[in-house]
Subunit: 186 residues, 2 copies
Amino acid sequence: MSVNTKTTQNPLTPVAQKFILHWGEMGTRWGINRTVAQIHALLFISPHPLPADEIAETLAVARSNVSTSLRELQGWRIVRVVHVLGDRRDHFESIKDVWEIFRIVSEERKRREIDPTLRVLDGCVQELKANPQGDAYTRERLTDMREFLTAMSGLFDEAIRMPAGALKGVLKLRGKVVTMLGKRAG
Amino acid sequence: MSVNTKTTQNPLTPVAQKFILHWGEMGTRWGINRTVAQIHALLFISPHPLPADEIAETLAVARSNVSTSLRELQGWRIVRVVHVLGDRRDHFESIKDVWEIFRIVSEERKRREIDPTLRVLDGCVQELKANPQGDAYTRERLTDMREFLTAMSGLFDEAIRMPAGALKGVLKLRGKVVTMLGKRAG
DNA sequence: CGGTCTTTATAGTAATTTCTGAAAAGAGAG
DNA sequence: CTCTCTTTTCAGAAATTACTATAAAGACCG
């Protein structure tokens, strides 16, 4: 039998609250549901994996809402289930390495948004090539956009393939590196 | 007196339609209002600046909605007003250089979202330093996150300062460059 | 099995966001 | 100043998105 007091009271510290609320707002600005982002923030700063009911209680949202949101976070691959001895409930933890989170979310957004957009652009450019309906201009613009997104896509691919440690190294070097390259390329 | 036929019929080609609709969807995924994104797409592929009524008619949305959306696009600094001889109406055009659009939007998102988040994180870390409420762990996580966003912020600053041509050069070189740096830093 | 604990699905409700129509405000032209 | 054309504002309507409560499903134990 379990010896856990299933209903751990866990009120947020003012700092935790501030961070979680802000993170929720930022989520909405980037197309992420507020509650989803808040749960992620909570798990990110939590030293232990948390069960869904505790998350619901802490953030004052319905248990079912937490369930759905956790599923979404798992879809983004930045939260996973773990189990705790003597407790039947699922517990959830976030990836803790910010560089790794960035890497994974980048990969996911590329897959979900950039790649499909490239496919649409390819389709558009093809169609315009096949029967130029008089809009050479549109074709030029769409080709530019495709070129841009292809470059971005390649950049993401590179970043995605790197281990988080290397990514961190590269991005923190940027001052010197990018400036230097900028001079070379400009 | 103007000789313009103020109500130019301008139905979208299938390709234009496909692109505009997709761009609208992508907008919503990144926290941009669908109509705002559609208007941007329309202006982006339009060879001429367009007046608000024509945009409204083409996209089948209310004139007032177009007005608001154009204002927002101007807020993002990727659309501007121009005037056409013999026409009292404002006409609008998008920046056409995709690299420049990227540069400007990056700058704006940094200013609106990353910088404020850094301020919040600074505040949080300060408070935790002042009175460590037992959560050394939270402090560690927030410090990591701050470090990450600071690096990103710096990266954006570099990109923002570059002329679009240089930015294009740097990003298209990425294959070799990033790989090389990755090896060095990893 | 039956019983208990937990998670998931979903239909309806609530909240938020987006959009519209109408009216006000602004901007020349004469 | 007045008339006309254009843009902006804004209150309410519509649409979408998010959330909750409840019920069903799943998992484990004895």
